[in-house]
Amino acid sequence: MSDPRLAARYRRFLIGYPRDYRREMADEIVAVFLDAAPPGRARPTAREAANLLLHGLRCRLGRPAGRMVVVWAALTAILCGLFTAAAATRLAWETARPLPTAAQATPLFADLLPGHDLTGKVEGSPAMFVVYGAPLGTEHIRDLLFGDGGEYGFGSTGVALQGLSEADTARTLATAQARLDAGGWQATSPRVTRSDADTTETTLAARRGDDVLTFDLLSQPRYRNMYFSVSLNRATPWAAYPAGVAGLLVGALAGWLAFGWASRRTEGRAPALRALTTTLYGVATALWTIPSGLGVVGMAEHHLTEQHFVWHPLWEWLGQPALSLLFVAGVALTLLAAAVAALPRRPEALTADDELAV
């Protein structure tokens, strides 16, 4: 006779299966494990536990003979995981030290740019992330949804110098580099890019602790136009990484379970209802996948062509909030599909499904 606690332990790992299935099958499946267990076994092996959890999650999707359902569920889990991770990292950014005010940052900029009068030139940011220079508020919803979502980004405390000669600009940059070295900053080499025949842009990034500096020099000698700016941002707070991983796992699981509910709910239903929910959800996933694909490609290109001490946040990699209208439309279609799936079944449909579940 096996340890009576062993059955309870096996039963615990059936949590991955839907409740109805557990009610019907738990005794039988646990009995097979107990029959197969060698004498003296007190608890399930890791392999057995993983086997039950994974097959339980598969069972959550219903449609036992279907293969595409697993592909759709995996896609849903990935998308939900990524978007939840992005939201979690945004929350984690709240743990970052606030940006310095203009007054607090002035001594730092004065040290890096000696010989320049910075009076009234240093500008602070009202928030860590801003849209059109202001903290995000409900008044920006329209901007975010209708084309200007890309304006939401890092705020910074910075200073800009204009009217320098080319020689002054080179000297100022060299001095700043020396000051960065002396001040213990970790700095990149200047990267020069020529955007057209008349314009040269030089960027340099530096980091010390959670302070990140970006130097941006725009040179258009033909038009006697020189622009030299230094901006200070915060480095990604360490909490963003565990928050992102936790968000990914929680979101992926939630997405899988939600998809499983809808899949089981629509299993064996009228063809019209199934076609409607499939179409709605198919379009929704396209609306989520397209911005994410564009975001990943665009951000990868951006990171490769510019020097960064701070990765752009995950939501930007997912095309958010630049393409938030598509995301919101996808959510609306998914909710509509879920509402259709939640419509009550007809009694005869229940009978048909009961036979299928055997």
């Binding site: 499946i29 097979v32 086997n51 003979a65």
Partner: protein, 106 residues
């Protein structure tokens, strides 16, 4: 058809079996090479039931443990028959080629 599926159908050919009985028979048929865990077995049985290849037969309680028996349906028998013929043809072709390679040892 994957090997575990083929073995499950074979285990049920001619005899109803409960879950543990199927696992034992699969181990015996494959000389211990294939051992399925119960989670895998029941996912496969659900799939085969949905395809109409196996069906629940009866249930009993032995030593306080619930045992449900499964049987092969006529559709399951047909599929197993077809798969067996396909495997036999493949094996025959392979044997013929191997004989040609090793004429003295065949």
């Amino acid at each position: 058809m994957r090997e575990p599926t083929f073995l499950i159908l074979t285990a049920l050919a001619g005899q109803t079996r409960h879950g543990y009985g199927i696992l034992q028979e699969i181990a015996a048929l494959s000389a211990g090479r294939v051992t399925l865990l119960p989670g895998t077995l029941y996912t496969a049985l659900d799939r085969l039931a949905a395809q109409g290849l196996v069906a629940r037969d009866r249930e009993e309680v032995a030593d306080g443990r619930l045992r449900r028996y499964y049987r092969l349906t006529s559709a399951g028998l047909t599929v197993l028959d077809a798969e067996t013929a396909r495997l036999r043809e493949l094996a025959t072709v392979a044997e013929t080629k191997l004989r040609a390679l090793r004429p003295h040892t065949a």
